[in-house]
Subunit: 229 residues, 2 copies
């Protein structure tokens, strides 16, 4: 079976992308980043998700974006709480990490090349996170095009594909799809600002979108929240 | 003056790209990577070059590609020596690091975004290194296009430019241009396999191309070589 590199953050979306890669017949190799983020409990979530989905190779790579600063997820800007849907939809949020998806996909490209793989899966989603420029279909297409010019595989005519299977799904659709594939969302962590023991805050944009998604899907979120149950 | 991020390896090409960025009126911010390469003496060369060219901000970022393996520059594959020009020109060399330029440019993109800069300089060259897919003009154009879709700057209509001013120069032309701008090539290190004290081997592809370049330019290379003087 062909190997696919799957970016695995430990959140709901990437856990679903991993299950979809396997459902499409790929043997997944997972790639997780420790990027100086506040929410390092995500790494533990990624490990649990990879183990539950029987991933044979899971690499965790350190990248330190703190030297550059510039985001609530890596610096000292406060993570916003209790924003309304209009505010979430409006513009690029302070939780945007400069070039994060580009950096992570570049490492995925290196990993794929070393593994002899021509398939990369990423759980980006343009519906509920339209504020992030690097979650849009035109960005995914442009990265794929660049990747095919950057690598041996592309030069040798083995076309490299960047799969973004969740890009047009609502959060509720992602959850329904994942549950149908047996994803255990109790293992995932979506929160931007969890407690030190890993409990989701319940009030940041990521928690609010996740809870809305479970409500949409008509299913109970198996994760506990510190506030706002 | 506008800030430009310049990728600075400590080699001859990037030292020249840095001088060109300043000559074009930019205030350069330099970015160097410690990527598990054999030739860590390059980092010291990068520091010397940045100091000599009065760079106000020089960030050194650790990226570890050794977890993936796959290149003579990061792994246990031997650096080839004494290859003829035909061999150098023929195909992708084992010193090719998977997705290296893509990874480094992605970090440059993050740094540029945080600095509010829309200009990145990279010293890639398609003439003497045609074996590397990520040194070609079509790759540079595709990265620039992707970058404009990935970032706030691109979305907000401030066009991001990826400058590759050396791309069509021969090594001799690069050297002549750099000398005209006052670049001190004694500070640079091009060798893939220097001695522990930093002396260039004189026999790897990078040394051979550099020496050929100085011969072409009709100038004496100020760097000492372990062999083959």
């Amino acid at each position: 079976m062909a190997v696919a590199v799957v970016l695995l953050s430990g959140g709901l979306d990437s856990a679903t992308a991993l299950a979809l890669a396997r459902a499409e017949g790929f043997t997944p190799a997972a790639l997780t980043f420790r990027y100086g983020q506040r929410h390092a409990v995500e790494i533990d979530a990624a490990r649990r998700v990879a183990a539950a989905q029987r991933v044979a190779r899971h690499e965790i790579v350190d990248i330190d974006l703190r030297a550059f600063g510039g985001s609530a997820l890596t610096g000292d800007i406060a993570v916003p709480k209790d924003r309304g849907d209009d505010e979430i939809a409006d513009g690029i949020p302070v939780t945007y990490v400069p070039a994060r998806n580009t950096i992570m996909l570049s490492f995925a490209l290196a990993f794929a090349e070393v593994l002899g793989s021509t398939d990369i899966f990423v759980g980006v989603n343009a519906v509920d996170y339209s504020g992030y420029p690097d979650c849009r279909p035109e960005y995914v297409a442009a990265f794929e095009r660049m990747a095919n010019l950057a690598t041996k595989a592309g030069i040798e005519g083995r076309r490299l594909r960047l799969h973004a299977p969740l890009i047009a799904f609502t959060k509720g659709e992602i959850i329904r799809r994942g549950l149908a594939l047996g994803v255990d969302y109790a293992l995932t962590c979506s929160c931007y600002d969890p407690t030190p023991s890993g409990v989701a805050c319940g009030r940041c944009d990521a928690c609010r979108l996740r809870r809305k998604g479970f409500a949409e899907a008509g299913r109970k979120d198996p994760v506990a929240y510190a506030e706002g149950q």
